[in-house]
């Protein structure tokens, strides 16, 4: 079930009524209902993988209890290894097995031997990378004594399987979400209205910006050999908007939906394309994943406390792992490596924390310097996105080669004035609303109700008038 479908439009009001009217008096009942509906939501995609989700949930729940109860450190470590091993084992089989088998065959082939690996014909269970990371953070936090395990399996299962975040995040932490699941939620009109607005803005990003951009991006990336440099650049820039609209749009709908139910999820995006350097970009893009890797990979490896070599190594590790998390393809690994290369100069010069506040915080427009820095950062990100979007490395290099050719100064083909206007409107709202948690949050709050409603009606009109051809959310494949 996707957020932008009729099914979800029918599903969510039922959840809303059951949640706030039928089960409100009993927290236990409310959580059981929410869990049942979350599993129904997941089963709509493929009910067979529900068993995998339930198994993974109870593995981590049980491991968490064992880690906490076991007196000796060695046994705690054994339980941690069991939990991490099985979780990563599932991820390895479903997501990475064919990649490793293929890479092994190629490697052996390069030495003149022939290998015939067995390839698995398995589909990737939607959301596996996300719920696996939920579970891992939980057992790590118990192991490092940051939290105590919950003794209620329903609460834990809801922490992992809560439907707004189940298939594409944000990747939650037990320290943040579990207490909310364990406490009664109050209906607060302001929060519910805010949630509705965030859902509206997320839908706009997804169905208007991402889906319309996708049509042209697919055309240009699939037929890249037929286009000049300017069109390829245009395609790459549009992909930047597609993936941002798609993923942050999904996150907005997830956060808004959860907020309507009185639950706050972690902010996942914070206007990343207004970043002035790559370090700032990574504090604003897919925040829940970046912070996960920071807390559970980068810091345990020593973070940036060691010497230069340690910093370089840890930076590469975290970005390569992050790339690999996205998928079993060398393109994602190169994408990660590129970001590491962009990030290192900022880190090594000690300027990685020089842009901590939002750009032009106290003014309407950015300074020339800020504009220049934002443009450079955006362009670097766009180059890396080409690898992310390409089918394979050959495709990516050919695309970039074509982009940096003399035809980069020609008039781009496939240019859509309508899409340009929609992206312009989108950027305007994001810029004006950049001090909020999402673009639309603070806009019009002081306007008369009629004017505010007119703005919301306008956005609804754009959604129903300019819906692009429906595309699956990109991050569902991860």
């Amino acid at each position: 079930m996707l957020f932008n479908t009729l099914e979800f439009a029918l599903f969510f009001p039922i959840v809303f009524v059951l949640y706030w009217f039928v089960t409100k008096r009993s927290l236990r009942l409310q959580n059981v209902m929410l869990l049942a509906m979350s599993y129904y939501f997941y089963a709509q995609w493929d009910w067979r993988f529900l068993f995998l989700l339930i198994f993974s949930t109870f593995l981590d729940y049980f491991s968490g209890l064992q880690i906490h109860r076991t007196p000796t450190h060695a046994m705690k470590r054994v339980w941690l290894i069991i939990s991490v091993g099985i979780n990563l084992g599932f991820l390895g089989v479903f997501k990475y097995y064919n990649f490793f088998a293929d890479s092994f065959a190629n490697l052996v082939g390069s030495f003149g031997f022939e290998a015939h690996p067995v390839f698995l014909s398995v589909i990737l269970p939607v959301g596996i990378s996300f719920y696996t990371f939920h579970g891992l953070s939980y057992v790590f936090d118990i192991y490092y004594d940051r939290i105590k395990p919950t003794t209620d399996p329903v609460d834990y299962a809801l922490f992992v399987g809560f439907f707004p975040l189940l298939v594409a995040g944000p990747i939650e932490r037990a320290t943040h979400l579990l207490p909310q699941i364990q406490s009664p939620r109050q209906f607060e009109m302001a929060k519910v209205v805010d949630g509705c607005k965030q859902v509206l803005w997320g839908l706009f990003k997804k169905v208007v910006i991402a889906d319309n951009a996708a049509e042209i991006v697919n055309l240009i990336f699939d037929g890249h050999q037929d286009y000049g440099g300017s069109t390829l650049l245009y395609g790459a820039v549009l992909f930047a908007f597609q993936i941002y609209g798609d993923f942050s749009g999904y996150s907005d709908i997830a956060l808004g939906t959860a907020r309507i139910l009185g639950i706050e999820l972690l902010q996942n995006f914070n206007f990343p394309y207004f970043s002035r350097d790559i370090a700032e970009f990574w504090r604003r893009w897919h925040i829940s994943l970046s912070s996960w890797f920071r807390d559970y990979v980068y810091i345990p490896l020593g973070g940036s406390r060691g010497g230069t070599w340690m910093k370089v190594r840890n930076t590469f590790v975290i970005f390569l792992v992050s790339g690999f998390w996205h998928g079993a393809n060398w393109t994602f690994i190169v994408w990660g490596a590129l970001h590491a290369l962009f990030f290192l100069p900022v880190l090594l010069s000690g300027k990685n924390r020089s842009n901590m506040s939002i750009v032009a915080e106290n003014s309407m427009l950015p300074s020339w310097r800020e504009t220049f820095n934002m443009a450079v950062t955006f362009f670097s990100v766009v180059i890396a996105w080409v690898f992310f979007r390409a089918e394979d490395l050959g495709h990516a290099f050919a695309y970039i080669g074509g982009m940096f050719s003399p035809t980069i100064f020609s008039k781009p083909a496939e240019f859509s004035m309508q899409l340009a206007a929609l992206v312009g409107f989108f950027l305007l709202i994001e810029w004006v609303g950049r001090r909020g948690k999402y673009g639309l949050q603070d806009i019009g709050l002081k306007w008369p109700r009629l004017a505010r409603w007119a703005m919301y009606y306008g956005i609804m009109f754009l959604i129903f008038r300019f819906t692009g051809k429906s595309e699956t959310f990109i991050y569902f494949q991860f």
């Binding site: 009729l6 209906f187 509705c196 009606y457 129903f464 008038r465 300019f466 819906t467």
Partner: protein
């Protein structure tokens, strides 16, 4: 809570009103398929691909059969190649469109080699074709307005129904309530020749080399006939095409007519293969009959049903 619900109801009044008006504004110009999913279940069907959708006209068939004492109200439930090739999605959709209580209906099953051909690699591997088309995903095919189709399958923005994009308005296609898709194309000889050459090239370059007769699709054709036979008389029909298109079909499946004759014999139904004759039949693109010749072909089929 009450306050929220009150404001929400007030806020949603306008969007809901526009939404409802939009749904009720959808008609035969909305797209080439929508109206077929808005009628009640049917007792007589015409099934096949776009050749049948444009070629076989239910009103012509009904008037001839009714005039001869056979009370029939037929409905064209044909779509297009890629959607309504014989296979699981189309079979299931036909089942949903059938009135389960129907008896003595008339069922025209339009066949041609493309409608029973599958992807070459899939056929070689011996695995079933898998099509993720709206015929597979659409649960309700008998609802007016069909909210599910418009929300999930309609491939343009919903408000396009109410406020069409003037640059994309296409008045060359009109889907009638009986399911017949009327075309209103430029039929000047030079345009038709150009369109025919283009269509034949497209089939030769992209379909012929990547397709093969599919036992799986032939099997589904057979069970489609079985299903329809339970509700009345079935006739298999091969509609005429331009001779240059026929050459490709003979390459794809040289024994097609024989295969259909054997199927008809096995199932005890009629098989009508209308011969290719470029002087007798006119096409919009070598593949689809012009409306006037569609009416002629429909009369031929009606005569075959009336005078075995």
């Amino acid at each position: 809570m009450k306050q929220f619900l009150k404001w929400l109801a007030l806020f949603m009044l306008l969007p809901v009103a526009i939404f409802v008006i939009t749904l009720y504004s959808a008609d035969g110009r909305t797209d080439p398929y929508y109206l077929r999913f808005t009628t009640p279940p049917q007792s007589s069907l015409i099934v096949g691909t776009s050749r049948a959708a444009q070629g076989i006209q239910p009103h012509v068939l009904d008037s001839m059969l009714n005039a001869n004492g056979r009370a029939v109200k037929s409905f064209n439930y044909s779509f297009a190649i890629g959607y309504s090739n014989y296979g699981a999605p189309y079979y299931e959709s036909i089942k949903k469109k059938m009135d389960p209580a129907a008896q003595n209906g008339v069922f025209i099953v339009a066949v041609d080699p493309w409608s029973v051909a599958g992807d070459l690699a899939t056929v070689r591997a011996g695995i079933p074709e898998y099509e993720w088309t709206f015929l597979r995903t659409l649960n309700n095919v008998n609802m007016s307005p069909n909210v599910e189709y418009l929300m999930e399958e309609y491939d343009k923005p919903l408000l396009n129904i109410l406020v069409p994009d003037p640059r994309k308005v296409d008045d060359r296609l009109l889907l009638h309530e009986d399911g017949w898709l009327e075309t209103n194309l430029d039929l000047s000889p030079s345009t038709v020749t150009e369109r025919t050459a283009k269509k034949v090239k497209e089939y030769r370059d992209t379909r012929l080399n990547s397709s093969a007769p599919s036992p799986w699709r032939l099997g589904y054709l057979e069970i489609t006939v079985d299903l329809l036979q339970k509700h009345g008389e079935v006739i298999l029909v091969r509609l005429p095409v331009h001779s240059s298109m026929m050459v490709l079909e003979d390459q794809l499946m040289p024994t097609f007519d024989r295969t259909m004759e054997l199927l008809a014999l096995r199932k005890n139904v009629k098989y009508l293969s209308i011969p290719v004759n470029d002087r007798e039949w006119s096409f919009t693109d070598g593949n689809h009959l012009v409306p006037s010749d569609g009416a002629k072909v429909t009369k031929l089929i009606a005569e075959e049903l009336l005078h075995p």
